[in-house]
Amino acid sequence: MANLPILLDYWPSMFGMRARVALREKGVEFEYREEDFSNKSALLLQSNPIHKKIPVLIHNGKPVCESLNVVQYVDEAWPEKNPFFPSDPYGRAQARFWADFVDKKFADAQFKIWGKKGEEQEAGKKEFIEAVKILEAELGDKPYFGGDSFGYVDISLITFSSWFQAYEKFGNFSIESESPKLIAWAKRCMEKESVSKSLPDSEKIVAYAAEYRKNNL
């Protein structure tokens, strides 16, 4: 009998969460392994020698690294259920563009809000709100970024929603007042079991971020 795919992960990581959501969307059973960053496992270092980061999905003994790469791999390795991409090449290119936007603009900005203070934090807040407004415009009146079905862009972004409370607390602002549509979208996504099972409680994230700020700032 084939071994279960292994996911090397770290519970608060919004990047790791993407892999969890993707696997659950496909109904794939997997073994979740928590990594300790102060003591990375031999398996992690061996599987991702270039970046030494999570998530790493090990399937049939072979590692796949980088969260969006893992999500695309999961989609292609288990193609029958819940496709993450539309079938037309232009729709697929657009999906890739927007997930890339989340990585390039949204991810960096959000870190500054909870991971920095002072001017850097303020700059991060500004960039974050800008990115949120752009994403909201892209979502428009669609139920999901993918249109009628939850897809690649939704997976790339929804995991950050577990951190929204932390952004609001440390950034001292309300995401809902900046983008009610995005909050509504996030709630809609959370109704999916693949999402609700994969994201940790917001309070736990707030506590985690508070600890980080205490130790680093």
Partner: protein, 224 residues
């Protein structure tokens, strides 16, 4: 039948070169439009409002931005000629990983190599040497990064070869002597018409950068 493809590009951009190569690999006719990066066209700003960068591929009036995304788009539209991505999901994941690695690790240092001096340039040199070492190791004894066939990772990196002479001259980097495997690989890629057509002359790139450095940084590289 014309496919109505326009490529907004900049002749020396290693990113634009990727898209040119992909289009040539598929034998697709397109209209190349040179952008003046100091005076971006209204079309560029309209088609790529988010990043305002080249290359921008415009197909039947609709824009596709980001070079690796464009290459995948072209590959999916014309899947039968010269496939760029392999068909196996794991091989595809490996190709995407290395294309992403190249993007993540070269963008900042490569810019600093030609536009900076002193410490900033030195730091960039160290970073880029690491990238070359890693890619050299990943290539190993294979003909191309994906194995026997020219593919995504080759397309992602080959454009940088046209900048090697520039990096060697303006950043005092040793590339050709230190990385013979990569140079052989590059020569192998250049045998393909798509690559030969897409890459500018290395000396032309060097001249353009040297002129820029003379004007902007007041540096004359060629003191005898």
């Amino acid at each position: 039948m014309a496919e109505e493809i326009i490529l907004l590009d900049y002749w020396a951009s290693m990113f634009g070169m990727r898209t040119r190569i992909a289009l040539e690999e598929k034998g697709v006719k397109y209209e190349y439009r040179e952008e003046d990066l100091s005076n971006k066209s209204p079309l560029l700003l309209e088609m790529n409002p988010i990043h305002k960068k080249i290359p921008v591929l415009i197909h039947k009036g609709k824009p596709i931005c980001e070079s690796i995304i464009q290459v995948q788009y072209i590959d999916e539209l014309w899947p039968d000629s010269n496939p760029i991505l392999p068909s196996d999901p794991y091989q595809r994941a490996q190709a995407r990983f290395w294309a992403d690695y190249i993007d993540k690790k070269t963008y900042v240092p490569c810019k600093a190599l030609w536009s900076e001096t002193g410490e900033k340039q030195e730091a960039a040199k160290m970073e880029f040497i690491e990238v070359l070492k890693t890619l050299d190791s990943e290539l190993g004894d294979k003909s191309f990064f994906g194995g026997n066939k020219f593919g995504l990772v080759d397309i992602a990196f080959i454009g940088f070869y046209s900048w090697f002479r520039t990096y060697e001259e303006v950043a005092n980097l040793t590339i050709v002597a230190k990385f013979p495997k990569l140079i052989s690989w590059a020569q192998r890629c250049l045998k393909r018409e798509s690559v030969a057509k897409a890459l500018p002359d290395s000396d032309k790139v060097l001249k353009s950068v040297s002129d820029h450095r003379k004007i902007v940084l007041g540096i004359d590289e060629f003191h005898v």
